[in-house]
C-alpha cells in the first residue's frame, strides 16, 4: 500500500491577541493515512469548533500545520516543486459546503467547467472538451443539455452541488475532500448527491474525505469514521461499529441527539450535561466537563486511544482494560 495523503502528527494552533497570546488548538496531534490501493470514504464528524474544517483545509493544502507535516504521496506538501504541486492540485479536489457561493454568477456552467480543462491542459480540442464535460455531468446524474449554457442562478441548490462534484470529477482526481457537501441542500435532494459521491468511489476509484456534522449521512455513505471533539480524536473506526454501538460518551451523546425519522427511536435517553459555552478545561480529557461518566482521573490526564474492538478505538478511560493504540496508528482501524 502506498500512502496517498498522509497527515503525520499534525497540529494546528491559532493564536490571537497581541500581548497575551491566547491559543486555540484547532487540531491536536492528528495522524491519518489515506491509502491509494483501495478507495474508501472516510467521514470526519464533530460539532462546530471540533476542527473538522481545519482538517479539510490542511488536507487541501490551504493552511500550513503548526506542528507535524502533511504528506502527499510521501512528500511534504509545502516542499513540493511547482510541477508536482500542480499535479497535487489536480489530483486532490474539493467540494464545498455552500452551492450558492462557489460559482461566479456571471459565467455560464460551460465556462465554469472549461476553466479547469484549460488550466490543467486536459485537451486542446473544443469538441473533446465538450465531451468531457458531458461525461462528467452525466456521471453525477445531470442531463448535459439541461445544464450547459445555463447560469448558476437558473439551477437549484442540488443541481449546483452536483456540478461541483462534476467539476471535480472532470480532473480525474484520486482524492476528493467534501466539506459538508449536503448540509445546505434540501433533504429531498441529499439522497441524489450522496448517491453521486458514492458512485465516484465505486466507478472511478476515488477516495473521499467526507467532512460533516451529520452522522446520519456519514453512516450512509462512509466506510469508516473519525469523531472529533475540540481538535482531538474521540472515537475512530468502522462506521457500522461506531454508529450502531458507540463507546465514547461523546459519540453516544451525538448519536442520541440525531432526530431519526423513526417512530420507534425516541430522542433523549442520555442526559445533556452542561450547557454549551461552559466547558473549558485545560488539562485532561476535553470532554470531561460535559461527560456524565467523568472520573477524577479524566480531569488530570488526556486519555489515550483504547482499542475496544478490532476495528474501533475510543479515547476514554472507561475502556482502560483494552490495549492502547498509539494516535498515529488510527489508520490501522480504518484500513482494516
Amino acid at each position: 500500500m502506498a500512502p496517498l495523503l498522509e497527515l503525520r502528527n499534525v497540529s494546528k494552533i491559532y493564536s490571537q491577541g497581541l500581548l497575551s497570546r491566547e491559543q486555540t488548538i484547532a487540531l491536536d496531534n492528528m495522524s491519518l493515512v489515506l491509502d491509494d490501493s483501495k478507495p474508501s470514504i472516510v467521514a470526519v464528524a464533530g460539532e462546530s469548533g471540533s476542527g473538522k474544517t481545519t482538517m479539510s483545509m490542511l488536507a487541501l493544502g490551504f493552511i500550513e500545520p503548526t506542528k507535524g507535516e502533511v504528506l502527499y504521496k510521501g512528500k511534504n506538501l509545502y516542499k513540493l516543486p511547482a510541477n508536482e504541486h500542480l499535479k497535487f492540485r489536480r489530483e486532490v479536489q474539493a467540494v464545498f459546503q455552500d452551492p450558492f457561493a462557489v460559482f461566479n454568477p456571471f459565467y455560464t456552467i460551460d465556462h465554469l467547467l472549461t476553466v479547469p480543462i484549460d488550466k490543467f491542459k486536459l485537451t486542446k480540442s473544443k469538441k473533446q472538451a465538450r465531451t468531457m464535460m458531458e461525461d462528467a455531468l452525466s456521471a453525477v446524474g445531470l442531463r448535459p443539455d439541461e445544464i450547459l449554457g445555463r447560469f448558476p442562478h437558473q439551477l437549484s441548490g442540488g443541481q449546483r452541488q452536483r456540478i461541483s462534484v462534476a467539476r471535480a470529477l472532470l480532473l480525474k482526481p484520486t482524492l476528493l475532500v467534501a466539506d459538508e457537501p449536503v448540509s445546505m441542500v434540501d433533504a429531498s435532494l441529499r439522497a441524489t448527491i450522496l448517491e453521486s459521491l458514492k458512485k465516484l468511489k465505486k466507478d472511478y476509484g476515488i477516495s473521499i474525505l467526507y467532512i460533516t456534522h451529520d452522522l446520519t449521512t456519514a453512516y450512509h455513505i462512509s466506510d469508516s469514521i473519525i469523531v472529533l471533539y475540540r481538535g482531538g480524536v474521540m472515537e475512530a473506526g468502522d462506521v457500522d461499529t461506531v454508529i450502531k454501538n458507540p463507546k465514547h460518551p461523546y459519540t453516544k451523546l451525538l448519536i442520541d441527539s440525531i432526530p431519526w425519522p423513526d417512530l420507534k427511536l425516541r430522542w433523549g435517553t442520555t442526559d445533556l450535561q452542561a450547557k454549551e459555552g461552559e466547558y473549558k478545561s485545560t488539562t485532561g480529557c476535553r470532554f470531561a466537563g460535559r461527560c456524565p461518566f467523568v472520573m477524577p482521573k479524566c480531569k488530570e490526564t488526556v486519555p489515550p486511544l483504547f482499542q475496544t474492538d478490532k476495528t474501533r478505538a475510543a479515547a476514554c478511560f472507561l475502556y482502560e482494560e483494552n490495549p492502547q493504540l498509539a494516535r498515529q496508528n488510527i489508520t490501522e482501524l480504518i484500513s482494516a
Partner: protein, 342 residues
C-alpha cells in the same frame, strides 16, 4: 378535544413579479388546537415561509394576500389576522402570534444589549409598564429558556449560536402568545445544540400552553417533535396528518416519496431521492402540481386539480387516488409504505 387556536381557511398569497404571477400559497386550510405542535415541511420554495409571513401579515409587495382568513384565539377571544388594520396588527403580533424567523439568531442587534432589545418589544405592547416590571418580565423569559438572568446585560457576540437562538425564543414568548411560528429554528445548529433548543421550545410551549408551528425540511426532527405534520408542495398543502399516520401510512404520493427518501439505521447505503425537480411557481403544471413527478399519475391528474379529501381520523389529503372521504378510489394503485429493501 381542546379548542382551536388557529383556523386558517383558503389562504392565498400571490407574488406579482415581472415574469408573471406566482401563487406561493394556494388555498391552504388548517386548524390547530391548543397545545399542539405542527410540523410544516416541504422543499425550498414551496411556500412554507410565505405562509408563515402571511399569518403574521408580513407579506410585502410585490406579494399580496389574495383571500382567506386566519383566526387566532379561542371562541371567546379571537381575531382574524388578515382583517385587522395596521394598528391592530401591531398589537396582535407577539401578544397573540409570534414569529421566530429563519436565521433569527443573526437578527439580534450587535450594538444593543439583549435586555434593551427585549424591553423594546415589551414597551410596544405595554406602554404603561414600569422599568422594573419590564425587566422582571424579560429576565423571567430568559430563565424560561434556560438562560442565566445575566444574559440580559450581554451583547449578541458574547453568546453562542444555541444561546442566541434561545434569546430569540425568549423574545418570541415574552407576551405568552397563543401561536408560535418557528421557521427553521435549528437549521444552522449542531445536533446536540439542536436537541437542546428543541427541548427548550417544547418546555416553554407546554408552560404557556401555546401552539407551535415548526417550519423545516428535516423530517427526522418533525418525527421527534411534532404531533401533526403538514406537507406542502408548490404552494399547496398536499397532506396533513398525525406524525404516526404520516410515517406509517403516508397517503399522498409526494409524502410517501419524502418518507421513503429518509435515511435511517436500517437501510444503509440505499438512497432513494425523489426524481425530477420541484416546479417553478411561475410555470405550474396543469392539473395536480405533482403529476410530472408522480409515479401513480393518471390521466385525470394532468387536467384536473384534486379536491380535498378528509378521512375519518381528520387527515387532509389532496390526491385523485382518494374520494372525498379519503377512501381509496377503486382500481387505482394502492400506496403502501414501501418495505425497506437492503
Amino acid at each position: 378535544m381542546t379548542s382551536a387556536v388557529l383556523q386558517v381557511s383558503d389562504l392565498r398569497v400571490t407574488y406579482y413579479t415581472d415574469s408573471g404571477r406566482t401563487r406561493a400559497v394556494d388555498g391552504v386550510n388548517l386548524t390547530l388546537y391548543a397545545g399542539e405542535r405542527l410540523g410544516l415541511v416541504g422543499e425550498s420554495g414551496c411556500g412554507k415561509s410565505t405562509m408563515a409571513l402571511a399569518l403574521m401579515r408580513m407579506i410585502k409587495p410585490p406579494g399580496r394576500i389574495e383571500s382567506g382568513s386566519a383566526i387566532v384565539g379561542d371562541e371567546t377571544d379571537n381575531v382574524d389576522m388578515l382583517k385587522l388594520n395596521e394598528e391592530q396588527v401591531l398589537q396582535a403580533r407577539l401578544s397573540r402570534i409570534a414569529y421566530i424567523p429563519q436565521g433569527a439568531m443573526n437578527s439580534l442587534n450587535p450594538v444593543m444589549r439583549i435586555g434593551v432589545q427585549m424591553i423594546d418589544a415589551i414597551q410596544a405592547h405595554r406602554p404603561k409598564a414600569t422599568k422594573t416590571e419590564m425587566r422582571e418580565q424579560a429576565e423571567a423569559a430568559l430563565e424560561s429558556v434556560e438562560l442565566k438572568r445575566g444574559v440580559f446585560h450581554m451583547y449578541a457576540h458574547e453568546l453562542s449560536g444555541g444561546m442566541k437562538q434561545r434569546v430569540c425564543i425568549a423574545i418570541g414568548i415574552l407576551l405568552s402568545p397563543k401561536v408560535i411560528i418557528a421557521d427553521e429554528p435549528t437549521s444552522a445548529l449542531d445536533v446536540v445544540v439542536q436537541r437542546q433548543v428543541m427541548e427548550t421550545i417544547c418546555k416553554v410551549q407546554e408552560k404557556i400552553g401555546a401552539t407551535v408551528i415548526l417550519i423545516g425540511h428535516d423530517m427526522g426532527l418533525m418525527c421527534q417533535i411534532t404531533n401533526r405534520v403538514a406537507v406542502m408542495y408548490a404552494g399547496k398543502l398536499v397532506e396533513l396528518s398525525t406524525v404516526r399516520e404520516m410515517f406509517t401510512n403516508p397517503m399522498h404520493p409526494y409524502a410517501k416519496a419524502l418518507i421513503a427518501s429518509l435515511p435511517n439505521l436500517d437501510n444503509k447505503g440505499v438512497f432513494r431521492g425523489i426524481p425530477g425537480l420541484a416546479p417553478s411557481l411561475l410555470k405550474l403544471p396543469s392539473g395536480c402540481v405533482f403529476h410530472p413527478r408522480c409515479q401513480y399519475a393518471m390521466d385525470v391528474c394532468k387536467t384536473t386539480m384534486p379536491q380535498q379529501s378528509v378521512t375519518k381520523s381528520g387527515r387532509y389529503v389532496y390526491c385523485h387516488l382518494y374520494d372525498k372521504d379519503g377512501n381509496q378510489v377503486s382500481g387505482t394503485p394502492l400506496i403502501k409504505p414501501e418495505a425497506v429493501t437492503n
